[in-house]
Symmetry: C2
DNA sequence: CTGACGCTTCGACGTGGGACGAAATGTCGG
DNA sequence: CCGACATTTCGTCCCACGTCGAAGCGTCAG
């Protein structure tokens, strides 16, 4: 259960953003225009010397680019991924402490079962994936022979999914459940069949789906009577 | 030219991630499982006391949740947006210093002219938007009367674009040019006409498009002889 | 050539915060 | 009720870093 190696040192970049003055400079630059050092100093409310030191560090860290033009030096964000970091950081920084009732009801619906792009997610997605693994239908990022037969019987075009240019069966980390569900071409193919058969139907809230009675019976029969437990073990 | 108010204090959250020990804890939690305090201390290579202090700060900052279970305390990331921050931060932290020749050639093609979803971006997109504004065809986030006539003559279904549920004419910040181009329903409609007329054709690289000779002439005539300059003024 | 201006480098100062060991709190097994 | 264990709190040390004024480079105007 290894994940893609994405262990770049996060701390140094975060440290660059962590200083209030540098954060002010970066958000000023978020507008997309290149700004002169002096102007940034004024905006951030520090002396030219201080701003210069900060800009040097941001430059060294690769968060900004500089364009020398006459006796001015214009700084700008070094790329759209930097802007993305700032925006996503702003989003979590502005997180409201609590949610309204309406929002929390919708949130609960989405936690139960929803689509993630085109495949099943939420407790339902995680549960389905667990049952595929527990039943010996799926292992090591691929279907077993038993799994191929199971899905063929259900009407899933596994061969077609394999020919697709998408990744076949990547695990997709589910953040309300903090566990993985099945994504990619296979996840989409399975979910397509579930919706066609009417085992799941789309709800009013955009990405929500709901299990129908037929779906409950069908899935139960498919996995030969095992209960679909939806407990949330912490480990 | 105001932007959406998104000026949450970024620095405090960044400061939480900026410490190497806390960053190690957070990335350990990125796997999605809830982990006990002692385990996190071991993973981060610090004493239990130190880890505890860090976890308290992360908790206070709202980056992690805690679940008390017996004499253990299991910590986990507080939401998927936190995970998003970490991942996007990892992406910029791992940025390769230089690009291969092939990549840089493709990058140059894309910088010149490309589609952004369904509308024109890159130098071409920014240039087109500038000429619309400079010619008095577009102002204050909407077409002027002259602009309506200009685009009607070209065959753009402006009325249809207005009826669309998409935003009509939002400015879309272009990160290779660091300037805005035209997006939304209107941007898509215009780009559709440009492609239909063969003024731009799609290139081999996925999102690349290229200006044809007819396109050069047509645009030149449209804007009554003004040159299409592609200089890059910094301000 | 000279003065004005923009920016960076240098030197010195002060504070914030991360590290650990030891002791306190809390929880489980018997 | 009592030891074993997990976790937090407390006290202390110390270094890293943000801040500014002054001095040093470049660049432009005349």
């Amino acid at each position: 259960m290894e994940y893609i190696a994405h262990d770049a040192d996060i701390a140094p970049v975060a440290a660059l953003i962590a200083d209030p003055t540098r954060a002010a400079i970066l958000t000023a630059l978020l507008g997309g225009r290149a700004l002169a050092a002096g102007e940034l100093a004024r905006m951030a409310g520090v002396s030219a010397a201080t701003a210069s030191a900060h800009l040097a560090r941001l430059l060294d860290g690769g968060l900004v680019d500089v364009v020398r033009q006459g006796r001015h030096r214009y700084y700008r964000l070094s790329g759209h991924d930097v802007a993305e970091v700032l925006e996503v950081l702003a989003r979590v920084s502005a997180r409201p402490p609590v949610r309204s009732l309406r929002q929390s009801r919708q949130a609960r619906q989405l936690e139960e079962a929803r689509t993630c792009y085109d495949h099943l997610a939420g407790r339902a997605g995680v549960g389905l994936f667990d049952r595929l693994k527990d039943g010996g239908y799926f292992a090591a990022h691929d279907l077993t022979d038993a799994g191929e037969r199971l899905l063929a019987g259900l009407g899933v075009d596994v061969a077609g999914a394999r020919r697709s240019r998408r990744r076949f069966a990547p695990e997709c980390l589910d953040w309300t459940e903090r566990r993985s569900h099945l994504g990619g071409a296979l996840g989409a193919a399975i979910t397509g069949v579930l919706l066609e058969r009417g085992w799941y139907v789309r709800g009013k809230v955009p990405r929500a789906v709901a299990l129908t009675d037929e779906g409950r019976e069908g899935l139960s029969a498919l996995f030969s009577g095992k209960e679909l437990t939806s407990g949330t073990p912490v480990t």
